[in-house]
Assembly symmetry: C2
Homo-oligomer: 345 residues x 2
């Protein structure tokens, strides 16, 4: 007898669609390996929703809709044009909200309201959306505590690259003294191309945009703001303080020149955009800045669109994690991992 | 109100002593961070034991005894010369057995009997001892299932380097297709010295022995048997088959010459002792052998006494974990991590 876990998916963009397709592909395997019958009970996006009565939405039809990039409210039988996210979250029967609407670093909406609505119903929140996590961490924590629900954030922290799991489970009992990470694929790609091929910043960024690695508006990435969100998110969950975004001195890679790269090369160094946090004497500080790393630094070899993080601990030495697919599928896989860790494992 | 977790420690050698000292150092921090009052209820070694009545052994006195390398049965008030491990495990009141007696790859004893006695009482087993795990995996699994207890093996798998946590929790829901690892610090040190400084095999091994990295009898390490035990242990817990040691084709590093290293160097490669396992078509195969890795292979830069492992997955890309202190403290920290994951987190 499988355990039923029902999910409401909020957001049907790149990550939301990848999640729907992933669950369709993995459903039988998850049932066999973990004894879980994972159902998508409702999906909601900006123009409407699809809501199942009891058995969950038909995964095949949902995956087809996702593959065709068609809006969720057009799902046959179950589509509900105009139905909003808050109503969907309040009405559908589910244990988990998967929040995959776009990150908004101004007020965290609409994700913040979605998360609050779900937590107030006692649902666990599994999210790829960084906005509410970095703008309203205390509010979310209080709501979660009040209802006994959890907020799981792997997909927002670095997606398929494990960061918080390693910092909390794999190093349990050790004290993490500091962390440093390459947390933004676009910036690392641009710096890597400048280093390997002597491109200019503009050439490398243009190439990343043509390849779909960088967004049309890459400013959050290259100005260090995406890295800042991730380091705040990770640090706030590893250390016993809560940092706000404006407490993090942040410098991006927009002023790095070919001459800087060449000069680092001549010293056998490589420039990387590093987000770091340090816990010392009860005080937490974090910073985002380009740094020249020696070639034998564990993050120096993190290539192109990859990511990586180093945990410096008191009793386990340093632990370095690199890799992880930087793709919507990788983010969807991180959402699935959090659901399994929250409800099944 | 803290949760009390009581431990019986079997084995008071390098790792057992490091564990006793670690718990003394960390006790207050563990209580504050995890709400756990971790007590060492009994310690037993070859010539006797020390057993507490109710409150646990005095951690300060125990740590002092460990630091002085004095036998456990000489612990004031609590020492019990001649008391055996099986009697201790059957009589002391505890939730967890920490097994840290030496690995025996012939019949797994005495660790195997200790683990069975603990599992039969419903105690979780947390172990640094590989022998019973690779020689009697099915027996241990059956006993654990019968009593609802668990066997946790991080300290045996690669100690402070997280391997199984990453393969089971951090990648939950993904399918691991293959793994490859540098799992033996001594072999990696020897190969690293031959590569970096042009030493002969004998010079490098002698140096490792003088530095205390290699055992006086390093044959398990350099013949690949330690790597074989670890890859079997890890593979058997990640994949849905159980391999025995003799199913793993194993070659160590004893025949690697300076000429081999130089020849690899000239092709921009580096020779590493790799344990690997592959899951394909429902079949599990594993192998231990020296391999020439390209310099951009994620394990090529794993230095000297470090370790590393790569997980190749279907949906998360490849995930690489390296580092982890190779020391008795690192092994003790891995034991503590497993206790917290089993009983507290």
């Amino acid at each position: 007898m499988s355990k039923i876990v029902r999910v409401i998916l909020c957001g049907f963009g790149h990550v939301g669609r990848a999640f729907a397709r992933l669950i369709e592909t993995k459903h039988a395997d998850l049932e066999r390996r973990y004894g879980v019958d994972l159902r998508i009970q409702a999906v909601v996006d900006i123009h409407g929703a699809a809501v199942a009565e009891s058995e969950g939405l038909p995964l095949g039809a949902l995956a087809d809709l996702a593959a065709a990039h068609r809006p969720i409210e057009t799902l046959e039988t179950f589509g509900r044009p105009g139905l909003g996210a808050i109503e969907t979250i309040r009405e559908a029967q589910a244990e988990v909200l998967v929040e995959a609407t776009p990150t908004n670093l101004v007020d965290g909406e609409p994700g913040r309201s979605h998360m609050i609505a779900a937590l107030d119903r006692g649902m666990d929140v599994v999210t790829a959306n960084k906005g509410p996590l970095v703008l309203a961490p205390t509010e979310l924590e209080e709501r979660a505590r009040a209802s006994g629900a959890r907020v799981l954030v792997s997909a927002a922290a670095a997606a398929a690259l494990p960061t918080l799991d390693v910092g909390r489970l794999c190093t349990a009992g050790a004290r993490i003294e500091s962390i440093e990470g390459i947390l933004n694929g676009t910036s690392n790609y641009v710096l890597g191309r400048m280093d390997e091929d002597g491109c200019t910043y503009e050439e490398a960024l243009g190439e990343a945009q043509r390849l779909g690695i960088a967004e049309a508006d890459p400013s959050l990435d290259v100005e260090g703001k995406d890295t800042r969100s991730k380091i705040v998110l990770i640090a706030n969950r590893l250390f016993e303080k809560t940092l706000t975004l404006d407490e993090v001195e942040t410098e991006g890679i927009t002023r790095i020149t070919r001459a800087d790269i060449q000069s680092a090369r001549s010293r056998n160094q490589v420039i990387k955009l590093i987000g770091s946090a340090r816990w010392r004497g009860g005080d937490l500080t974090a910073r985002v800045a380009p740094q020249a790393l020696d070639r034998d630094h564990p993050l120096a070899s993190v290539g192109l669109a990859e990511k990586g993080i180093v945990f410096y601990t008191d009793t386990m030495g340093r632990i370095i994690v690199t890799g992880g697919a930087s793709s919507p599928t990788g983010a969807a896989a991180a959402l699935l991992k959090d659901i399994l860790n929250a409800r099944v494992l």
